[in-house]
Amino acid sequence: MSGMTGMEKRNMMKGLLFISPYIVGFSLFTAYPILISVYYSFCDYSVLEPPVWIGLDNYKVLMQDGIFWKSLWNTFIFAAFSIPMGIIAAVMLALLLHTKIKLTSFFRTVFFLPSLVPIVAMSIMWMRIFNPEVGILNGIIHFLTGLEGPNWLGDESWAKPALIMMTLWGVGNAIVTYLAGLQEIPESLIEAAQLDGANAFQRTIHVTLPMLSPVIYFNFIMGIIGSLQVFAQSYIMTGGGPARSTLFYTYYLYQKAFEDYQMGYASAMAWILFAVILVLTVWAQHISKKYVYYRGGA
């Protein structure tokens, strides 16, 4: 603190005073848990007894754990489909809503409402929709095609697509961000492209989408972080089944921690999850340099 003027010292004291609640909260609820979680990940810890240091054993066992790999794979598949499909759906709907038509606010509300539905209510509702016998989805399939629909949540190969479909229904949040992004595109830019002879499709591809790319990038990152932590849907709707086809990473971690009380093992899983998220976001950041257009070169 030497070399600071009295004014600087006073300001520092004031600043620290204002952020002091956060320093307390951060230490208790963020920093300490993070540090101790690292320690737990190298321990055998069952809550009932104090943690015992076992070195890298948790990580070694994880590498051999078939269910761990299965849950990681399930999560990747879920992310690999739900993120791009969500982006495409939301961008397309936002583009449709951005055309100068009447009733825009009505349609916007309709698309947005599902994203307000709490995940538990949403899951319970879709369980009923996916019910092969009395659910409306198979009812509609039967009505339109005369065929019997699949046993969605009860069929190993249909359970994941079912959950992805449900996720797409809640895409309204992203639509609002794209609409906000579209509103910021200067009219003059579109008009200039029009004068140059670009048709609607070309204008969308060469002007609108690049201008929208920062928002797409933002939703992409949020999608990675969110879908790698998908939990409630499978916990409520399928219990991870059938045949572990919807056992997602966070759900397996939850099982290990709060059903099997293998806290050390679960902590190791949590850090691997962090590493995966980190790698994917760094990768996203990397590709964003090529595709994301920031106005003003920022």
Partner: protein, 413 residues
């Protein structure tokens, strides 16, 4: 591809697509609403129907609300009345093979043996294969036999009837009020805490210049990258150490206000105490909300603070009387989003609440849904509708704030 067609055709195409997709988006919710108003038997019926319907049939000259069997009767036969024997006076359906017009072939269990015997009987009504058995539907337990008959499908009158009573019953069936109270405690206490603390902290991170400020803020932002599963396991231990998990007793109870109030007080404070893990951490600021508010505070010109300082205001006065009133829109966004988060949150209460008395709506519904035995789907759907309704009402009441908030949190480049 679109440019060649006329603008009118384009417009029509856009409308067509929007209407089609709107139907797809609305159908699940309408179906849930429909199911919540159906009678129980219709929720498990294979007959595909959006609207709640109740079947009415004329039985012996009187129109009854009825339950219709899922499957029709397999063979032609009769409804007969047995005239003698142990089943004397009973009315039953018998296929032609078991009733010849005067005698009925009945199977009866005597001790542990099945006996077949014939008894005199008279036909009451001739019925045909493909007809449905309908049984009088009674809402409460009723003395005596229920009226029934077998009729062709055409005789069943399906009236669209919304069973609004499902809602009242669902809230009795599921301890809904208790769940709502718990959820409100979690949401409101957390909301107040996060708005107050995050704005104080955001002020320290934006309106005062001090060495190391931006570095510390960067650390706070960086920890947002750490996924919740990392901290959720140690947090359990932290909450336990702080005495926040398990049954909580208020430190003192005012006994002078009468026992009615005393038990309310005890109950209220034990709820607040047991729900601590879900709201107390919010009182120390959350990185994301601090970030949002800091962004907003930084748009307020510095001169305003300087002028106040010259007028002799101290830092806290500047914060409370000048900056906070200006930052109201941002604080409303933070409050709204926190409330919705708390209303919807599933994993946190799932981990930190073990006693069903303190369940929030989300895990209360899940507990009801996953319990053993049959689920009353009409009640569960009614409870889901009731869970969604406040959020939707909030949305319509504060639509602008919503859109603004999503744009605010979604556009940080």
């Amino acid at each position: 591809m679109i440019s060649r067609s006329s603008p009118q055709a384009n417009r029509f195409l856009v409308y067509f697509l929007l209407v089609l997709i709107s139907i797809a988006f609305l159908t699940p919710m309408l179906w849930m609403l429909g199911t919540s108003l159906k009678p129980l038997e219709q929720t498990t019926s294979k007959q595909f129907s959006f609207l709640p319907r109740i079947a009415y049939v004329d039985i012996d000259g009187q129109v009854h609300k009825v339950r219709v069997d899922d499957e029709p009767i397999p063979a032609d036969g009769s409804i007969v009345e047995i005239l003698d024997g142990p089943k004397k006076g009973e009315k039953m359906y018998l296929p032609k093979s078991e009733f010849d017009g005067t005698y009925a072939m009945l199977e009866m269990q005597v001790a542990d043996r099945i006996m077949r015997d014939t008894f005199p009987a008279k036909a009451l009504k001739e019925v045909h294969a493909g007809w449905y058995r309908v049984v009088e539907k009674v809402d409460q337990y009723k003395e005596g036999a229920r009226a029934w008959t077998i009729v062709p499908q055409g005789d069943i009158e399906q009236r669209v009837e919304f069973q609004w009573s499902n809602y009242a019953e669902a809230t009795k069936f599921i301890p809904f009020k208790n769940y709502v109270a718990n959820t409100l405690i979690m949401a409101i206490l957390g909301m107040i805490g996060t708005v107050l603390s995050s704005s104080v902290v955001a002020y320290g991170f934006s309106r005062i210049d001090w060495r190391g400020r931006d570095q510390i803020f960067l650390v706070a932002l960086a920890t947002m990258m750490i996924p919740f599963p990392v901290t959720m396991i140690p947090l359990y231990g932290v909450f336990k150490q702080l005495g926040m998990i398990g049954t909580f007793q208020p430190l003192w109870v005012p006994t002078f206000l009468g026992t009615g109030f005393e038990s309310f007080y005890r109950d209220f404070f034990s709820k607040i105490g047991s729900l601590q893990p879900l709201w107390l951490p919010c009182w120390f600021g959350s990185a994301f909300n601090i970030f949002l508010l800091r962004q907003f505070f930084m748009t307020i010109p510095k001169d305003i603070s300087e002028a106040a300082r010259i007028d002799g205001c101290n830092e806290f006065q500047i914060f409370a009387t000048i900056i906070l009133p200006l930052a109201r829109p941002a604080m409303v966004v933070v409050a709204l989003f926190h409330f919705i988060w708390a209303w919807n949150e599933f994993l946190l209460p799932l981990i930190y609440l073990s006693n069903a008395d303190f369940f929030t709506l989300s895990i209360g519904l899940q507990a009801y849904q996953s319990r053993a035995g049959g689920i009353e789907w009409h009640f569960l759907m009614a409870a889901c509708v009731l869970t969604i309704l406040p959020i939707i009402a909030l949305f319509f009441a504060a639509q602008k704030t919503f859109v603004q908030g999503i744009a605010m949190s979604g556009m940080k480049e």
